[in-house]
Symmetry: C2
């Protein structure tokens, strides 16, 4: 059943009015019978203008449809009221909450957000950041971290407040809010070991963050003298389908595995689905732990035990730190480690 693709009708774009883009303080001033500055003041500091004048100006603004040109404001004031955000990709759920919180936080303070997708490519990231610096944003959020040395230097030299978010890196360009992937990986390993699971596996994407978690997980298993951890990696993004596929493989190749740590909840959900199909009891026969605590985690069957990292909090913290820096206020903690939490439910 397929709907056709068709052109339906012409749009009703009326050419009646002069484009607002061309309306400047000039026209408003002329219409209101005042000078440019009075209009400017009426907009930015209304209390400095006589009530009667203010009213006339406001009418003129309404009548002309005047909207101040922020490029001019930005040029004049050296403030863009713009914040840039770079994410690896928008196609996964991973960064949505962080971003949503940032955008919302900044919007309440009158800032707008410029978006960029690096697609996990350092080169894309570099190009992106260079273009963005041209906008003179008042602040920047980079999810993950800035990867190339040259760009790190560029940003450091630019004097633009930068928050690198999600990853607790050692040498931030400016500020960081994140968590330790190593602690997280080790923590999950201990959690499973405490619950008497000895044959462990890890399903994950092969991005750097996941790899750091995996490495720590494996190290911890060695420290606890557990059998060798089976690590299955795939190119990101990790998906539900991948979870099913990986479990299917595991069942054949290493049927003795008792617990799986998945680098995303979606991956874990796929594992649960495949386990259901195969009649594999979770958690009886197999324990499953996810990462992210996405909305569906709590209502899956069985409810998914997962590592919660509060993306919304990270985004909100980033917004606060940026605004402090932008306002010239001292930032008490330029490096903030946010916690993660293993949320115990039914799957492990």
């Amino acid at each position: 059943m397929r709907n056709r693709n068709a052109t339906v009708k012409r749009p009703a774009r009326s050419g009646r009015t002069a484009p607002i883009a061309k309306v400047t303080v000039r026209e408003v001033a002329a219409l209101a019978g005042v000078s440019l500055m009075t209009v400017s003041r009426a907009v930015t500091q209304p209390d400095q203008v006589a009530t009667a004048t203010l009213q006339r100006v406001r009418e003129a603004i309404t009548k002309t449809g005047y909207v101040p040109n922020l490029a001019a404001v930005s040029l004049r004031t050296s403030q863009s009221r713009l914040v840039a955000a770079i994410v690896p990709t928008l196609k996964t759920h991973m960064f949505d909450t962080m971003l949503a919180a940032l955008i919302e936080g900044m919007a309440t303070q009158g800032y707008q957000v410029l978006m960029g997708q690096s697609d996990y490519s350092v080169q894309r990231e570099d190009e992106l950041l260079r273009t963005i610096v041209g906008r003179r944003p008042d602040g920047m959020l980079v999810i993950g971290s800035v990867h190339s040395k040259a760009t790190r230097d560029l940003l450091a030299a630019s004097g633009i407040p930068v928050v690198e978010a999600g990853d607790l890196i050692r040498n931030p360009v400016d500020m960081v809010v994140g968590f330790s992937h190593a602690k997280l990986g080790a923590g999950v390993c201990r959690y499973l070991a405490e619950r008497r699971r000895t044959h462990l596996a890890v399903f994950s994407g092969d991005d750097p963050r996941a790899q750091r978690r995996n490495a720590a997980f494996v190290r911890e298993a060695e420290k606890l003298s557990l059998p060798r951890v089976l690590v299955l990696q795939s190119p990101p993004p990790t998906s539900h389908a991948l979870g099913r596929e990986l479990l299917a493989r595991l069942v054949h190749e290493s049927p003795d595995v008792e617990a799986i740590y998945c680098s995303s909840d979606m991956l874990a959900a796929g594992v649960l689905a495949e386990a259901q199909v195969r009649g594999l009891d979770v958690p009886g026969r197999l324990a499953v732990v996810g990462t992210g605590d996405i909305e569906m985690a709590a209502s899956l069957v069985p409810a998914l035990t997962t590592v919660r990292v509060d993306g919304g909090r990270i985004g909100a913290l980033a917004a606060t730190m940026l605004m402090d820096r932008m306002a010239g206020r001292p930032v008490p903690h330029p490096v903030v480690e946010v916690g993660f939490k293993i949320v115990q439910r039914d799957s492990a």
Copy 2:
């Protein structure tokens, strides 16, 4: 198990260089021993500059770390190379692919994307759009449609190319690419009727788009002389947990329902989970149809029958239409209806 929140160390922000934000053509020109215009030309039209000069200028640019101020460029040229995108929310998967496609499409043409979240609030949307107009974007994408009359007029008058995406509305501000929610709702109803399901229910958010689908679904059922359709609505966003909750309610209140149309795949996934828990056979006892065809739909158990709308295609089409308009090229089809498709899998 909770990691502490702590400050770890001071950041390594070196104050050594003059902020790039302050480097202008002036400094570059001085260093290269040329005029401002030569620098400007070296950047924008290198072939107009003698090779030797070009080289000197480029060295000077590298040495100073000069990055052109786009606010100034924008002011001077009346071109912002900025495109704005307004989404209801980033917290659901609904618009990710559309957005990702748009951002990618625009980025390849040297445009940057300004993001706004309206949170399904008309007032927020208005504020947002007004601020955004101040940036003089070269184009705008609004997911859904522009709701208030005043803002529609503002946009129409602004002369900014606008694409309203996702919704095939009747009187677009400028251009539209979308599908008919009414056709979709009716189509799903027929699909279920053809499969001998007579007692139908709809689970959905109460946003306007879902409501249009629901209304058409109900009308179609009446036309087919089916029993009254049970419609259960909740405030968006729809979620997995909500799907479970609604099915639980349904089982008590209307156990005779044979098919459910869900306004999102996540909602449908929740319904499948609850059905599994209750031992309700899907599709034997109950058919389930979702909306969106998100990645997990195909690997759910049972695989989810769903209505696919190609968000990536919509985003890409929007980007193309915007770029045509921005380049002054005629837009052959300012109103584009994209198809939807009912993807038959196992759940219905």
